[in-house]
């Protein structure tokens, strides 16, 4: 994607509301045809960013550049971007056809052209024959499709999607993810997608922008942000991770849990304190005494494809995902390959995440913001 021209360029965008900073100096370049996901917990500023691009909100400072032109003062209705809203925002007094035709009528298109376009859109979203249906008579998934068709009908350059799948159940959600991605690739339009669901972000995007507290934490491909998270926040937010306090003794040598290990990272200062991320699925379980570290199993949960094992190693609780069985109370050894240890610079998030001592299913649920929320308004 990076070889296509930049279509939207956010430069030093800051917004505060009632004295609270919502966005702090956001810089983001989005290329034409790219599928970009803004990912973060609720309140991180992702929806605000989207609303600034849409023109519903004015930033306090900074510039929004669209194809090289500053569009700071341009109102929403004059911008070549269209939004697919959270909970769809379909017009309840109009039927499916009229909802999709809404933007076309405003363009004063000929009735025949409108008809052709609406039909094409209905086909695109697999709703052929639904034109005369009332909005109320549609299921959530169908309403979602109408919302997509309505936004795409006006041939936008950029489509903004604000947690579009948040109200759908899991199965439908997965289907729609695939469908949205297909539509995006078919039409070649830029999608800017807002979600708090890391799985959704990883599976759909070309580029993931991880945000927290009104700041961008990491911009990268899904593989990048998963394998090389920029800091402890990103590592924790995307997937499960064990984050250990470590010291970079020298290039390719990191020390944590009181031991010195070989790794593949370099370029840190001598004896620089660092965070070390190790993904649970990258850890091998070996018999006691044969591993690099060893500890006592404190919890085992069967997860279908694997077991989730919590191991206490010198009071740090590691999470391990393995197909090998272990029982609570077992002493096991663990082994990690050098290239599975990812070393990060210390950040404001260091020490906040990464230990599973307070871990439980319920706790995970409570801290995981899967509830769709009205964000920062």
């Amino acid at each position: 994607m990076k070889n296509t021209p930049v279509i939207i360029d956010l430069q030093n965008i800051s917004v505060s509301f009632d004295g609270t900073t919502i966005l702090n100096n956001i810089n983001l370049q989005i290329h034409d045809g790219e599928f970009v996901t803004l990912l973060g917990p609720s309140g991180c500023g992702k929806t605000t960013t989207l609303r600034i691009i849409a023109g519903f909100l004015q930033q306090d400072s900074g510039d929004v550049i669209f194809e090289g032109k500053n569009i700071n003062g341009v109102p929403a209705y004059k911008r070549q971007v269209n939004t697919i809203f959270q909970r769809y925002a379909l017009f309840p007094h109009l039927n499916v056809y009229e909802n999709i035709a809404f933007g076309l009528r405003l363009k004063k298109m000929k009735e025949d052209d409108i008809k052709a376009k609406v039909q094409a859109m209905l086909e695109l979203v697999n709703l052929k024959g639904f034109g005369s249906r009332n909005i109320d008579s549609l299921s959530g998934g169908q309403q979602q499709r109408v919302a997509i068709a309505r936004a795409l009908a006006v041939d936008p350059r950029v489509v903004l999607l604000d947690e579009p799948l948040g109200a759908l159940d899991l199965k439908l959600r997965k289907d729609m993810q695939v469908e949205l991605k297909n539509i995006q690739q078919k039409l070649g339009i830029t999608f800017i997608y807002v979600t708090h669901d890391q799985e959704e972000a990883l599976s759909m995007s070309d580029t993931v922008v991880v945000m927290n507290n009104g700041e961008i934490q990491h911009i990268g491909t899904p593989i990048d942000v998963y394998n090389e998270p920029a800091n402890a926040f990103v590592a924790d937010f995307i997937g499960e991770s064990n984050i250990l306090d470590g010291v970079m003794r020298e290039d390719f040598h990191v020390e944590f849990s009181g031991m010195r290990f070989q790794c593949v990272d370099k370029g840190f200062g001598k004896d620089e304190p660092v965070d070390v991320v190790i993904r649970p699925e990258d850890i091998d379980v070996v018999p006691a005494g044969q591993g690099m570290l060893q500890g006592e199993v404190t919890s085992v949960t069967f997860k279908g494809v694997h077991y989730e094992i919590i191991v206490d190693v010198d009071n740090f609780k590691w999470m391990i995902q393995t197909t090998q069985k272990a029982s609570v109370g077992d002493i096991i050894g663990i082994s990690i390959k050098p290239d599975e240890m990812h070393v990060m610079k210390k950040s404001e998030y260091s020490g906040l995440y990464g230990d599973y001592s307070s871990f439980s299913e319920e706790f995970d649920e409570l801290s995981d913001p899967t509830v769709v929320e009205e964000e920062e308004e």
């Binding site: 519903f56 209705y77 809203f85 959270q86 925002a89 017009f91 933007g103 405003l106 363009k107 006006v154």
Partner: protein, 228 residues
Amino acid sequence: MTKTSKLAKLYIALIFAFLYAPMAVMTVFSFNGSASTYKMSGFSTQWYLRLFNDEVTMNALKNTIILAVVSAAIATAMGTLATIGINSMRNKRLRSGVMSVTNIPMMNPEIVTGISMMLLFVFAGTMLGRKDSLGFATILIAHVTFQLPYVILSVMPKLRQTDSRIYEAAQDLGCHPLKAFFKVVFPQILPGIVSGALMAFTLSLDDFIISYFTNGPAFQTLPIHISR
């Protein structure tokens, strides 16, 4: 709990009897052959004929309807606009302040609303050097004033229910904000506006107390005429 005991049904029936008996009696006597409201002496529609031929009564009826239509129209338009304004107020304290003021004519005893307006009109009349300041204008102002909270309170819930995102969606698709309002928000709040207007209209028709203090000899409504 869908089955209702006999006793409960009887009780409901009794209350309805209490509510409707006096009106039934009045209706019966309106067809009385004699002038008494106590003794029925034959069926007659003479009172209705007299009523329709009585110029003062008919004039009062005409006044009542004119007043109700005009005041309800003004109150509905202004109230709807005010609801939109109040709803979009970001400052919570200002908004609840405005709502409190809005509720005053509804919470205040009607007699106080009536005389407070009368005092204002009399005072303004004296200031302007007019002796008889009470008339159509004053009763109209009074009616609009006491109708406004009812209009606002019937439009407000509809506006609150309306997803603000549909207003944004219309703009997003290329509507000027004003046009977006009329194309997508207005149809949503229309039921509230209509019921507000109806309520304003009927309140005006039926109002006695506030009219009693703010009307002038030149403009009498039916309730005022009946009370005399």
